[in-house]
Amino acid sequence: MTLAADNQLELRGLAKAYGKRAVLGPIDLVIPAATLVAVLGTNGAGKSTLLGSIAGVLRHTGRVSYAGASIRPGDGCAYLPQRMRFPAHATVDETLGLFRQLVGQVVDRVTPADGFLPEGARRIEELSGGQAQRVALACTVMGAPRILLLDEPFANLDEPGRAEATRLVRAHRDAGATVLVASPAAADVLSICDRSITIEAGRLVGPMETIT
């Protein structure tokens, strides 16, 4: 399923504070559809807070909208949190099956290549960090989300894993999805992204840049 080209993700006055301590924003930003954006910044800059706020799992002020309508959890947004860990005693197949149920009847835009995922009968606790990350990525890219929010998605992945993860993410972008990829290391993500934003101390540094 290809999304309309004029859909855009719009952040207006997006801000997050813990008590009186502001940790993000206010951020105003418009991201066109079919764009893969690198979210850069040092540790603690606010990248994860930005992604979590867009995903609707962190309470925030300001407005997050897509194609002009406010988005809420479940409105076609897929989110991969940083250092995501599934319940240890679940198997790979059970975990993928759960997300299949959550996605419903929507046809997958793209599926992981053979060999990307570990054996389905293995428990999460038996997997290496990289294998567990592959399972988390597979769950995140399932279905046809309009927005993908990936917090350090390449962490722990080896080169073949990174290449396949990149293919999966780009396939969503090519179908019109808006994709944000957060990483503290620019070298990890700049080569695969179309544009980049940089956050420092919770604030955007300069405008969104096009990567050439």
Binding site: G52, R83, M84, F86, P87, H89, G97, L98
Partner: protein, 271 residues
């Protein structure tokens, strides 16, 4: 929601802690029953003897500890690991996150109770009158209800706690207060402060474990002397039937209210 509940339950029931809790409770309940049969009063279900009191106390204390601890750890763990956030972003509602955790934890505690009471039933089969077996089944049902309440309290602790470690510590503290602390407070302060009727009833209502103990006494048609001063007082003042209906309502409320509060609190907090 059914898929998530089934996933949570399968995951939880494979855990070593859950399996250990089920086995330990079954063994301890079986042992208590055997000791009861060894005495000339047998299990004493018709007139509460030490063995019956032990079985009631074990059922009120151990599976509830399991439920409170697992409820808090599973919920806080899912939040800390990012799993809950990932589910939420995909459209899983906050009520579903809370309720599915509760269902899974309740199921694990129920398995402990079924294993313990099942073993006890096998041991006492043929040794007690049929009427006592019916009471035994009602007693087991009552313990299932209080375990569900404990799971709801555990999930609430997990929602309120900041981290998994905090959740574990708070759950242990909560269990201690409910299982022993409030009783000690009533016994220690009751006479000194000259508690009135309302205060004593209040002391029961604020503690589902005490509520379950007293309801068990009511089921067994006993005088309240075996399980403490609060039970004796209530049975004497309100009578058996009124006490049972009231106490069951309190236990059900101790399931619904913590779940409702947990959902309300989570809606106002980050995942």
């Amino acid at each position: 929601m059914i898929a998530l509940a089934a996933y949570q339950a399968r995951t939880l029931l494979r855990g070593r802690a859950t399996i250990a809790a089920i086995v330990v409770f079954a063994l301890v309940a079986g042992l208590a029953t055997l000791l009861g049969l060894g005495s000339y009063r047998q299990l004493g279900l018709g007139s509460v003897g030490p063995a019956a009191a032990a079985l009631i106390n074990l059922a009120v204390l151990l599976p509830t500890a399991q439920a409170i601890l697992l409820g808090s750890l599973v919920y806080a763990g899912d939040r800390e690991s990012g799993f809950a956030a990932m589910l939420r972003a995909r459209g899983t509602g906050v009520p579903a996150l809370v309720v599915t955790t509760w269902l899974a934890v309740t199921l694990s505690a129920w398995l402990s109770l079924l294993a313990g009471f099942g073993l006890a039933a096998v041991i006492i089969a043929g040794n007690v009158p049929l009427a006592d077996l019916a009471t035994f089944v009602l007693l087991a049902g009552l313990m299932l209800l209080v375990a569900a309440s404990a799971a709801a309290i555990g999930v609430l602790v997990g929602v309120v706690a900041g981290t998994r470690v905090q959740a574990a510590l708070a759950a242990v503290a909560m269990w201690f207060v409910l299982s022993i602390g409030l009783d000690l407070a009533v016994v220690g302060l009751g006479a000194y402060l000259r508690f009135g009727e309302a205060a004593i009833i209040g002391a029961i209502v604020i503690d589902p474990l005490t509520t379950a103990r007293i309801a068990a006494l009511g089921l067994l048609d006993a005088n309240g002397s075996v399980l403490g001063p609060v039970g004796a007082y209530l049975l004497d003042r309100i009578g058996r039937a009124g006490t049972l209906v009231g106490l069951l309502s309190v236990i059900l409320a101790w399931t619904a209210v913590p779940l409702g509060v947990a959902i309300a609190v989570q809606r106002r907090r980050d995942l």
